[in-house]
Symmetry: C2
Subunit: 334 residues, 2 copies
DNA sequence: CTGAAAGCGCTTACAG
DNA sequence: CTGAAAGCGCTTACAG
């Protein structure tokens, strides 16, 4: 590849001048400027990002850490991230962490050595102290999707209110025996959805029936047996609030296999609005999350942090953006 | 961050020596070696990848180009890519191209400036001459998922045979009026699946009925109307071969909405075995593709190309790896 | 076996 | 307005 020196010789100037023209940071005589531009064009020159990065200490690269890109929503978040990164001249490195701290630590080490400018973290867990440390070391970090009240910039939704409103909707439509398919307890998003469920029942004077609470035992598919067992026990609910769409889909299958009709016998309400939800039979009623927007806004915030980093040293408090969810009623609820 | 010079001073040697110890490429007195290692450890030093890359002309970075990471299979391919990249010390840059040549071109330009070592391309189209050029310029390129008989290394499946066998299976099970939900014609994978369908009919002396061929008009959802129209026309098929699972899912919904039962009245067979396929009702019979393996093998091949690049200059012919598919029979076929 | 020096390709004070 | 020089943090012939 052709370098700045070649361009300089071709244009009959020094490489300093070429650099100046290209950066546009200081005035260059219009005549020489044109000469340089011509040379750049004719030689089809574009500057080496590595060398520039080494010099200025910025690489225009960000890292996206997800538990696994294969999980329903992360591809959409990733698209939001990648789109706005690209539009701002940034490149994104994809990191699957598999919720393995060691993998994540090694990635962080490698990415630091590579002078990655900032991190978007979707893989936060209660014990993610290495992420907190990263933030404390001064690296720009933005959390999204998973969040634990840390003083770190984040883009989130209000899981509690979304669940509360969803369950209130079910109650308003006449459901009284509302079961819940509850996800992994260590994720605060599920805990908050659970609290929303409980409080919605309480606000409506519906007693909480512990038998209607299904806790995930071993992956999403565990809700198949859980739902079957619940129904076989004779304790048939009139609705199930699933804390995620994949859970809802499994629940639907179990309900049907028990000979019940959806939504006539039992309503099912999901959470997330993944792509499949509109396509399945019956189309799933669910709580929609703005995944793309989350990725996109997180990236905008991150880039702002990166750009601020050089400038003023004054500490800016992290801001937590809360995005709206929307209740989408399709055919799985009556 | 701490650099090699600091380590050298700390250990009382020159930075050349530190570099030698760390690279392990030439012998260093065991004593000094230990001193250096100790310094490295105590200072928690790890070398700057940018600087190394600038010097040796390799960055241990690869690019993954996909039409959109949001599309069903690409997250799985991406996981295969990322896993094996990580295990080999490589980092992957995610590029969504949206099948937009301009986006792809700009990415390529940027990635070249960044000295990206190689490219895994899932976004190949008939007119992707910029990818062919990339290959001709000597950059390591491996294609997967989409392939057009170019002399470029690739990891593919045999779409023709897979479709042929799938349709033969339907015929063996007694189906005679087999419709097809045909995807975008510009993608050779769909064309080959179509050919497999046609030839399977012919080999079994079943006349091809043009009325049973549904061509995608405007996205996956267009198969809803297409299927409805087909059924309403009185020309009811006894099976539908969908050239992808999302199409199958839409077809299933349309069939049901017309009052027909699956698989009793009409069987539906998909292609791809996306995650949702096992979860929907009825669980979908489909052709399984080894997406993870495709990503993983493509990455292994790419890394091999990258490593060969420096060494011998002799031209090595590209090799096309064909991975096995498997017919997965669930409940949507009788 | 090890150090000094050159160089990868840039940017940016520093002179003039 | 522009060039020479230093330096970002490495690696690697070249001496010794």
């Amino acid at each position: 590849m052709i370098n700045i020196k070649t361009v300089a010789q071709y244009a009959g100037v020094s490489s300093s001048t070429v650099s100046r023209v290209l950066s546009g940071k200081s005035y260059v005589n219009e005549n020489t400027r044109q000469r340089v531009l011509k040379a750049v064009k004719e030689l089809n020159y574009s500057p080496n990002t590595l060398a520039k990065g080494l010099k200025i200490g910025r690489t225009n690269t960000i890292a996206l850490m997800v538990p696994s890109i294969e999980n329903q929503m992360f591809p959409i978040v990733a698209r939001g991230v990648e789109d706005t990164a690209r539009k701002n001249g940034f490149t994104v490195i994809l990191c699957n962490t598999y919720e393995d701290i060691e993998v994540e630590r090694q990635y962080i080490k490698k990415l630091k050595n590579r002078w990655t400018d900032g991190f978007i973290v979707c893989s936060m867990l209660p014990n993610s102290d290495h992420i907190r440390q990263l933030k404390n070391e001064g690296f720009p970090v933005v959390l999204t999707s998973r969040y634990y009240d840390d003083p770190i910039d984040a883009v989130v939704i209000d899981n509690y209110s979304a669940a509360y409103n969803a369950v209130c909707y079910l109650i308003k439509r006449g459901h009284k025996r509302i079961a819940i398919a509850m996800g992994r307890k260590e994720l605060s998003l599920y805990r908050k959805r659970f609290e929303g469920y409980i409080d919605a029942l309480k606000s409506n004077n519906i007693p909480v029936d512990k038998n209607l609470i299904m806790y995930e035992t071993d992956g999403t598919n565990s809700f198949y047996d859980l739902t079957r067992d619940l129904i076989k026990s004779g304790n048939v609910p009139d609705a199930v609030f699933a804390t995620s769409d994949p859970k809802a889909i499994v629940v639907i299958r179990a309900i049907r296999d028990c000979g019940f009709k959806i939504p006539d016998d039992i309503s099912v309400l999901g959470f997330d609005n993944i792509e499949m939800s509109a396509l399945i039979d019956p189309p799933l009623s669910t709580v929609g999350q703005p995944f793309y927007e989350m990725g996109s806004l997180a990236t905008k915030k991150l880039i702002r942090l990166i750009e601020q980093k050089g400038k003023n040293k004054e500490h800016i408090d992290p801001v937590i953006d809360v995005l709206d969810t929307n209740l989408i009623i399709r055919k799985s609820t009556r």
